[in-house]
């Protein structure tokens, strides 16, 4: 029946232990296309890996991903992937290298722990977009939910629409750019990094303060907008860590003991 979960588990809880690579792609040179409408998450991921790691394909188009969860996780090489449709939760997590376009929406935790690459999402994204992002660019053409870039450790998240609350919570490095409005608690408990907001800020989180934009900031914003053909950047305000909550010094814990 429509919507029925067709994933089977073995006695240990392993999903689809007998799943095999479907090998249904239309391959032309180094490009391939396959329709994911009738495939499970595991079959889609097996097909992707077979194409990218064993068949010399560097450009994959996935039709009808159907908002399924955990698609395209852990792809660790340079390649292009184009999802013609929406992804569910945890899409494109733990990737290192791919350039990805998603012609649809994504659910919670897209690009979690992404190391490098580019992910362009043409519609909205759910909460926790780019959680613990290490590197690379995430570009969301629509709105994002709450806690975008929580625990972010590098890379850039660029959002053209509005954002929910608690974005950049405990952010440690990297940059976030919001062209729309952002919710309460922006940059709460952030350690480092920079947040740029063009719209309204509902409230700042603890130890998040406004800073002046320098020439480097303008150059950075201009460059990102140029790369993604987004036109002239709007006027942004910049927010950073106030360094009042977290006390860094040059001493290691062992050295501190000696001082004390």
């Amino acid at each position: 029946m429509p919507g029925e979960s067709i994933i089977k588990y073995d006695a240990r809880g392993l999903a689809e232990p007998l799943a095999e690579v479907p090998k249904i792609s239309d391959i032309s040179g180094d490009a391939a296309t396959f329709d994911a409408a009738d495939l499970t998450t595991r079959q889609i991921n097996l097909e992707l890996r077979w194409l990218l790691y064993e068949s010399g394909i560097t450009d994959v188009t996935v039709l009808n991903p159907g908002a399924k969860h955990s698609i395209g996780v852990g792809i660790l090489q340079r390649c292009r992937i184009h999802y013609k449709g929406s992804l569910g939760y945890f899409g494109c997590g733990l990737i290192d290298g791919p350039e990805i376009v998603i012609d649809g929406r994504v659910g919670w935790s897209v690009c979690e722990n992404m190391m490098s690459g580019v992910v362009e999402i043409r519609k909205n994204a759910g909460s926790l977009t780019g959680a613990a992002l290490r590197g690379g660019d995430i570009v969301v053409h629509g709105a994002v939910g709450a806690r975008t870039g929580i625990d972010q450790k590098g890379g850039t998240i660029l959002v053209l629409g509005n954002a929910g609350m608690n974005n950049a919570f405990m952010m440690q490095r990297g940059r976030q750019i919001y062209c729309g409005d952002v919710g309460h608690g922006l940059g709460d408990s952030m350690y480092d990094g920079a947040i740029y907001v063009a719209g309204k800020v509902a409230s700042l989180g603890i130890d998040c303060v406004e800073a002046d934009l320098g020439a480097d900031d303008h150059e950075f914003l201009q460059r990102k907008f140029s790369i993604y053909a987004l036109g002239t950047p709007p006027t942004f305000r910049k927010f950073v860590c106030g360094k009042a909550l977290w006390n860094y010094d040059n001493l290691e814990p062992s050295e501190k003991k000696l001082v004390l």
């Binding site: 429509p2 919507g3 929406s86 569910g88 629509g142 709105a143």
Partner: protein
């Protein structure tokens, strides 16, 4: 974790919401395999439908079980007659769950209380349009058991449950009827941290609770507010201040479907709307179970209340 889903058709259109809600909930089976529940709104009728159980699905089947159920079912019919209700029919979907169609225009509270005074009886819902069906197992299992395919209606909510803080039984399953109010039900994903405060407060106002589940509070809380004159939208907004915890919940009345997210936006919700239908769920994959093509969806933000009227 739990998963919730809702659909409402605009412009008085009806559809097979039994099959549609089953598909939505089945696609979220991974969010909660313990029990599944449906609150379905059929066309408003003059008669009322009472959904009730006389035992739980996992009650021990001792030697006297069937005899006791039959005796209690007869007692229910007798009590319905004593309250002035004219029983049209009583149908049994299982050996412990029943659907009574009656003519009755009296107060619902004494009726519900009188019926629940029968040993083992739990009234799941009373309404001119609302019918709550809930049981153990996944959506397809429950839908097959209660013959929900082909249920023609205007709007519905549903729930798949991963039991955390109360038992795996029908009492702990959602949706919750807003006892003793007509045609109001709630599904909830989250935890309320001031549950006991509100439970005591509402009990002092004369309400009773069928379960130990925090979600039941929301249903009665909202119905109480509406009884005091607030609209559904106003009542749901007040709940954001007065109910503490993390939650996304949906509430249905005879004419509307509302959804509210707590101030931390800790629980997911994806929403789709077009000229015909509003569909929402914890995961987009549930909406795609009934709209099998690319759609534009969005996540409502923290502290947001949305109410959709038919």
């Amino acid at each position: 974790m739990c998963g919730i889903a809702g659909i409402i058709y605009k412009n008085s259109r009806t559809a097979d919401i039994g099959t549609q809600m089953t598909a939505m909930l089945q696609s979220m089976k991974h969010r909660g395999p313990d029990s599944t529940g449906f609150a379905l709104f059929g066309p408003k009728a003059d008669q009322i439908v009472i959904r009730f159980t006389l035992a739980d699905a996992n009650d021990k089947r001792d030697f006297g079980f069937n005899e006791r159920l039959e005796r209690n079912r007869i007692e229910i019919e007798s009590r319905l007659a004593k309250t002035g209700a004219t029983v049209d029919r009583v149908e049994g979907d299982t050996d412990y769950a029943y659907r009574a169609v009656v003519d009755y225009d009296g107060a619902l509270k004494p009726l519900a209380d009188y019926l629940e005074d029968v040993a083992g009886c739990e009234v799941l819902s009373i309404g001119h349009a609302l019918e709550i069906v809930k049981d153990l197992g996944d959506a397809q299992t429950v839908a097959d058991q209660y013959h929900l395919a082909g249920f023609d209606g205007t709007h519905a909510i549903g729930h798949v449950r991963m039991a955390t803080e109360s038992d795996v039984d029908i009492s702990g399953a959602h949706p919750y009827w807003a006892y003793p109010f007509n045609d109001v039900a709630v599904v909830h994903n989250g935890q309320l941290t001031n549950y006991f405060q509100w439970k005591r407060r509402l009990e002092r106002s004369g309400h009773r609770f069928q379960s130990e589940c925090d979600s039941e509070i929301i249903a009665v809380y909202l119905a109480q507010k509406m009884e005091e004159g607030l609209t559904l939208d106003e009542a749901m907004h007040e709940s954001l201040d007065e109910l503490d915890g993390v939650f996304t919940y949906m509430c249905v009345t005879a004419d509307a479907l509302g959804v509210a997210k707590d101030e931390m936006a800790a629980k997911p919700l994806v929403l789709f709307e077009n000229d015909e239908i509003v569909a929402m769920a914890s995961e987009e994959i549930a909406i795609r179970a009934i709209l099998d093509h690319e759609i534009d969806t969005y996540d409502p933000y923290e502290s947001q209340v949305l109410v959709f009227n038919r």
